[in-house]
């Protein structure tokens, strides 16, 4: 799980062009949107693409997005659960 979290940090920094952010700056439990990393609606779409491109995962229900993309921890948990199901 720790490896997946660290990998996600690097992928998010790269995919979202977060040039001023280092992996160690990101608390995996902090919210990705709003007061946390401050991502916007376009970033949300990029995260959906990232899940599909890197992990072959699609969101069946868009309404699940808010929970899945709450933080890096929740993204990692979603990826783990899909891979083991």
């Amino acid at each position: 799980m720790e490896d997946l979290i660290e990998k996600l940090k690097l992928q998010i920094i790269d995919q979202l062009n977060l040039a001023e952010v280092k992996p160690e700056d990101i608390d995996p439990g902090q919210p990705l949107f709003g007061d946390g990393l401050g991502l916007d609606s376009i970033d949300a779409l990029e995260l959906i693409v990232l899940l599909e491109k890197e992990y072959g995962l699609k969101l069946d229900k868009p309404s699940d997005g808010k929970q899945i993309f709450h933080s890096i921890n929740s993204m990692a948990e979603f990826i783990r659960s899909q891979k083991t199901s």
Binding site: L16, N17, L18, A19, E20, I42, L45, E46, V49, E52
Partner: protein, 189 residues
């Protein structure tokens, strides 16, 4: 007569404000390197810059130098007219590369949103809280004289006191821009 408050030129990896060089990089540093280094030189925090395409980065930098000490400009009454020849071609090509292979079809939303040249006006207006009208013109020769009628009509009929106008181009890793900020004197009919 309209009064020019300030002009900014970017060409050959150099930035000039009122014909005075304010930033330069060796010519070998092309493409993103020049734009990103010029941004760092401004010493401002604006993470969104790194998400922009090159056309928007170029426009952002030119506008930043244009407004850097222009405190008296009323941005609620500023209009923005920009122009270029190649539209958002560089980003259009980047987007095409993302979607050309059907087996790896992953269009990038953050690239796609920049496949219109007028987005640069939006980025500038968001940054400087400009609330006036904006328009982006495609012109083969970057010749604002062709737009004189539109400019004159707009200046005299829109609620505006200031005009940012200019052209900007990113082509083959060469970035050129010429922005002017004018205080407008309206004709009375």
């Amino acid at each position: 007569m309209n009064h020019e408050i300030r002009n900014v030129k970017i060409a050959g990896n150099k930035i000039y404000v009122n014909e005075v060089e304010v930033f330069a990089l060796p010519h070998e540093m092309k493409g993103d390197a020049f734009l990103n280094e010029a941004f760092k030189n401004l010493e401002i925090s604006y993470p969104k810059f790194y998400k922009m395409d090159n056309l928007c980065k170029l426009g952002f930098l030119a506008a930043e130098h244009l407004f850097i000490t222009a405190d008296k400009v009323d941005h609620r009454n500023t209009i923005v007219f920009l122009s270029n020849k190649n539209s958002s071609l560089q980003t259009d090509r980047n987007h095409f590369e993302k979607i050309r292979q059907s087996e790896s079809y992953f269009p990038s939303p953050s690239i796609f949103v920049y496949t219109l040249p007028n987005i640069v006006i939006g980025e500038i207006c968001i940054r400087h809280k400009i609330m006036g009208e904006g328009a982006f013109f495609l012109s083969e020769n970057h010749n604002f004289e062709d737009l004189n009628d539109i400019l004159e009509y707009s200046v005299n009929h829109l609620p505006c006191k200031y005009l940012l106008y200019g052209d900007l181009e990113t082509e083959n890793s060469e970035h050129t821009a010429h922005f002017r900020l004018l205080e407008l004197k309206k004709k009375h009919h």
